[in-house]
């Protein structure tokens, strides 16, 4: 079938690093000693690790070949739900590599590093403007650490009110990091079932919220790609019981310039700069999970916090109410610079446009696939749409099979089997940077695969076949862990 991106071609095998090389080979130039050699005290001296010795060309070929086994946003469409795999602009990489920034040491006095402090200050202002929240910290290294920061702020707030609460409400649609982060600071997660429309009922929250409960963690838009339309009413209930509302902002890409978070009754929210703000995921990280808070929670933000006084910037270290540090320095700074560059490049109008187009793309896919795939929650969606493999069960074809077959056709599969409320979930988030032709081609490909599911399901069961390796045995890996070569 000629109209799919995926095909197969020549790529290289490559052994593990220590299966190559020869003792004494050089990969790096080390300066000649211009000072006398001083021996390390013998009792402390070790033998040094058993690393292979490789030449520069060995290293270059090794990683060049490895890279050919990978698929990134630059390779093709990556509609991984909840991950906002939008295009990562090249100029952001250049800006993050600005020599004066790359060389900046994090422990020098403020007067020497005004430039890097300015970026932090301005980025805080921008994120506040985008969310409508009055204060922010950039320290959290990723979304989950943002959540932890938020939960610690919840705890600090309640302590400041002389109470220690033990539970937290978490909708059943929540990402696993939410309960995990809550648990980390001792909260017992209490699941809240979302209603038939896939959103929170005011009633079910009211039924569970009490004075032992610190508050609620709401992902909005939620992981079904739906806007929690009762969010304000929910917030009122929680607030009425002295609780706080946490917003998981991982899905902010749907609502920039459209929703004012502070108006939704959210008290704390993290953003994922490596999603909404176009910083690359790097095959797993680093990310950045800044946290925005309402005025009354500002004093609990991590230290140090950057301030602007006249034209100078300084780090404010002493804030007795602060929850303290969550990072050794200022967070994943290089990631912050990328997001800062993105926001400056986009401006207000284009950020809003990005959200509108992200939502348009998702709804377009939802419309085009609703006949072929089961749509558990038939609602106008935000940035992503969630289907299931229900219709394919009779064909003995699963979500996993569909996902693997997509690989053969040159697409990264959507997020699968999440959210948990949808058995066999297929969670598609195209993002705004995919153009119509590419989305149409993706839709065609899914339909083609669903045809194959009827005519020749084996094609799906045995997929992928075009990749260097076929389907991998994850069970074996877990049964006999081999984690170190």
């Amino acid at each position: 079938m000629k109209n799919v991106p995926g095909t197969s071609g020549l790529i290289m095998n490559e052994p593990l690093l220590w299966e190559k090389g020869k003792k004494g080979r050089k990969g790096m130039s080390i300066p000649a000693a211009d000072v006398p050699q001083v021996e390390m005290v013998s009792t402390l001296k070790g033998a040094g690790p058993d690393f292979p010795d490789l030449s520069e060309v060995d290293i270059v070929r090794h990683y060049t070949r490895l890279s050919q086994w990978n698929f990134g946003v630059d390779t093709g469409m990556y509609p991984l739900g909840s991950c906002t795999m939008k295009y990562n602009p090249k100029t952001n990489e250049k800006q993050a590599a600005t020599p004066a920034i790359g060389a900046a040491h994090p422990m020098l006095d403020d007067e020497y590093v005004q430039g890097t402090l300015k970026i932090m200050y301005d980025l805080q202002q921008y994120l506040q403007a985008i969310t409508g929240m009055p204060a922010a910290t950039l320290q959290p290294s990723a979304g989950a650490q943002g959540e932890l920061t938020g939960m610690l702020i919840f705890d600090a707030y309640h302590r400041s009110k002389g109470s220690k609460r033990t539970k937290i409400l978490i909708p059943d649609t929540a990402h696993g990091t939410n309960p995990a982060s809550a648990a980390l600071c001792g909260y017992k997660p209490v699941p809240v079932a979302s209603n038939a429309d896939g959103v929170l009922d005011v009633e079910s929250v009211a039924a569970l919220m009490d004075e032992e409960t610190a508050g609620i963690m709401v992902t909005n838009p939620n992981t079904l790609g739906l806007f929690e339309s009762n969010i304000r009413a929910v917030a009122e209930i929680v607030h009425a019981k002295g609780g706080l509302v946490y917003g998981d902002g991982a899905n902010m890409n749907a609502i920039m310039g459209i929703v004012d978070i502070s108006k939704c009754g959210v008290d704390v929210m993290h953003l994922n700069l490596h999603k909404t703000f176009s910083t690359p995921h790097g095959g797993g990280g680093p990310g950045a999970g800044p946290v925005c808070v309402v005025e009354k929670l500002k004093k609990f933000l991590p230290v140090p916090h950057v301030l602007k006084e006249g034209e100078t910037y300084r780090l404010d270290w002493n804030n007795p109410d602060s929850i303290g540090r969550v990072h050794g320095y200022h967070g994943n700074y290089g990631v912050l610079v990328r997001a800062y560059s993105y926001i400056l490049s986009m401006g207000a109008a284009n950020l809003k446009k990005a959200s509108q187009l992200a939502v348009l793309n998702a709804n377009y896919i939802k419309e085009k696939l609703r006949k072929a795939l089961h749509l558990p929650y038939d609602q106008p969606c935000m940035h992503e749409c969630v289907f299931s493999d229900a219709k394919q069960h009779e064909l003995k074809v699963s979500t996993l099979d569909i996902a693997k077959r997509l690989i053969d056709y040159g697409y990264h599969p959507p997020t699968i089997y999440f959210p948990l409320v949808v058995p066999g979930a297929i969670m598609i988030e195209p993002t705004e940077t995919e153009c119509k032709e590419d989305i149409d081609q993706f839709i065609e490909t899914i339909l083609l695969i669903l045809e194959e599911a009827k005519t020749n399901p084996e094609l799906l069961h045995s997929a992928p076949v075009r990749t260097k390796l076929k389907r991998l045995d994850e069970t074996l890996a877990a049964r006999k862990p081999c984690l170190c070569g």
């Binding site: 990978n70 991984l80 100029t91 900046a104 932890l148 920039m256 187009l357 419309e367």
Partner: protein, 444 residues
């Protein structure tokens, strides 16, 4: 806008398909009282060239320049990074991929991380290393939480005052909400952790030392390990300068159960403190208590060797609140770069580079001593050490800064007892000439 591909016609066609009049109509499910009034308050959008100029200006506003010789470590080190590593790490197949949830199209990341795990385990002398934790601070917090999980009955952990003060703060933050207790172990006159007080505690889940510690002193890990194990606690060691293990006994040899630390030294720019790399390793028997992702070897349908994320049952997306940690995104590409850096150095190069760092620091040390400065601790150090000057050093510092040298950092904020003392670091990037210039200024 060049990142937004949709033309007006395309938008119109797509709206028609979804049966909406306008882009605004797509948001009908959003209550009016949740909506933003007016536009986001942001500066006007910049062209690529305006952004270049803007960032160049910010760069120029930094008083510390890339040309400055920075004789400061304190957890962030200036080491040379081969251009090759920048070139390889920026391969977009690595950089623009997500976490390798679909192993068949992520073998590059997976093998690369498996290699990182392996080289890390070898460097630290441990059985298993994970795919990374955010940074040295979070890694230490996770290590102590892991200790508390393993020694369930104990609710207390001890951390040496020799550990990077920021990392200790992160530990405090992570543990504050729960009822775990943290005791701090003082430093002795020799700059090493004083373990005398250990005896007082019977209920320690884990005891953490950093070596070389924040003040540069190499701890006697072997001795400490024995003492700590006597109390039944797990022995956690941390670090901020992994290069030291090119020359020193590794933590594994010294009996560490869990080893964690900041890996920025391994091929990452200082970049104002991040992104860094939380390196994390432990003994086999603790693997299932480990936080963070793990890449493991397996085979594909045809029996070919391949790699996958494994033991996910420890993780939040499966275990949710019972997970060993909440970490999801980690430091991915930074771990890859550290792997590249370790591979580039090789065993021979790592040894040579570590020795060179030590020699440079020792030369600075001896020259400063000759110049009348006091080296606060006579315990062995690697590439960092604490100095007390006979008279106020501030003016000298300022003069040197203007001459393009950053002469250490004052540690009073963290160690009142050492107020006025400066922590110096000399890596391979510091020339004899730079050192002599410092000493000459000190002599003035």
């Amino acid at each position: 806008m060049r990142y937004l591909p949709h033309t007006q016609e395309e938008i119109a066609e797509m709206l028609a398909e979804v049966g909406k009049e306008s882009l605004n109509d797509l948001f009908s499910t959003i209550p009016d009282d949740c909506r933003m009034e007016g536009d986001i308050d942001l500066p006007p959008s910049m062209t690529e060239w305006e952004l270049d100029a803007h960032m160049a200006q910010i760069g120029a506003s930094m008083r510390v320049t890339p040309q400055h010789k920075v004789l400061v470590g304190a957890g962030s080190y200036h080491h040379y990074i081969p251009e090759m590593i920048r070139a390889l790490a920026s391969r977009s197949e690595f950089l623009t991929a997500y976490t390798p949830y679909q192993p068949e199209m992520a073998q590059g990341t997976l093998q690369g991380i498996y290699e990182y795990q392996t080289l890390t385990a070898r460097l630290l002398g441990m059985d298993v290393a994970n795919a990374s934790i955010y940074d040295g601070g979070a890694a230490l917090a996770e290590a102590l939480l892991m200790g508390l999980r393993i020694n369930k009955k104990c609710k207390k952990v001890a951390v040496s005052k020799g550990i990077h003060p920021h990392h200790r703060q992160v530990v405090r933050t992570y543990l504050q909400a729960t009822d775990f207790e943290i005791v701090e172990l003082p430093l002795g006159e020799d700059g090493r952790t004083d373990l005398a007080s250990l005896a007082e505690y019977s209920d320690l889940a884990a005891v953490a030392l950093q070596s070389p510690n924040f003040l540069g002193v190499i701890e006697d890990l072997q001795a400490a390990g024995e003492k700590i194990h006597e109390t039944g606690a797990l022995f956690v060691t941390s670090f901020t300068e992994p290069l030291a293990f090119g020359l020193l006994k590794n933590p594994g040899e010294c009996g560490a159960d869990i080893v964690c630390g900041e890996g920025q030294s391994m091929g990452l720019a200082r970049s104002f403190g991040g992104p860094g790399l939380g390196m994390f390793a432990c003994k086999d028997k603790f693997t299932r208590n480990m936080p963070g992702r793990l890449v493991g070897e397996t085979v594909d349908k045809d029996g070919k060797r391949g790699f996958v994320l494994t033991l996910a049952t420890r993780e939040q997306h499966i275990r949710r609140e019972k997970a060993t940690s909440n970490i999801c995104s980690n430091q991915g590409i930074c771990a890859m770069m550290a792997g590249m850096f370790m591979a580039t150095l090789g065993g021979t190069g790592l040894r040579e580079l570590a020795q060179l760092n030590h020699s440079k620091a020792e030369y600075l040390k001896s020259e400063l001593r000759k110049a009348g400065a006091e080296i606060v601790f006579d315990s062995p150090t690697f590439n960092e050490f604490l100095v007390r000057f006979p008279s106020d050093f501030k003016p000298v510092y300022k003069q040197l800064f203007d001459n393009g040298i950053v002469a250490g950092i004052e540690v009073g904020r963290y160690y009142p007892q050492y107020k006025g003392c400066y922590l110096f670091c000399a890596t391979e990037t510091v020339g004899k000439g730079d050192i002599d210039a410092v000493v000459q200024e000190v002599r003035r």
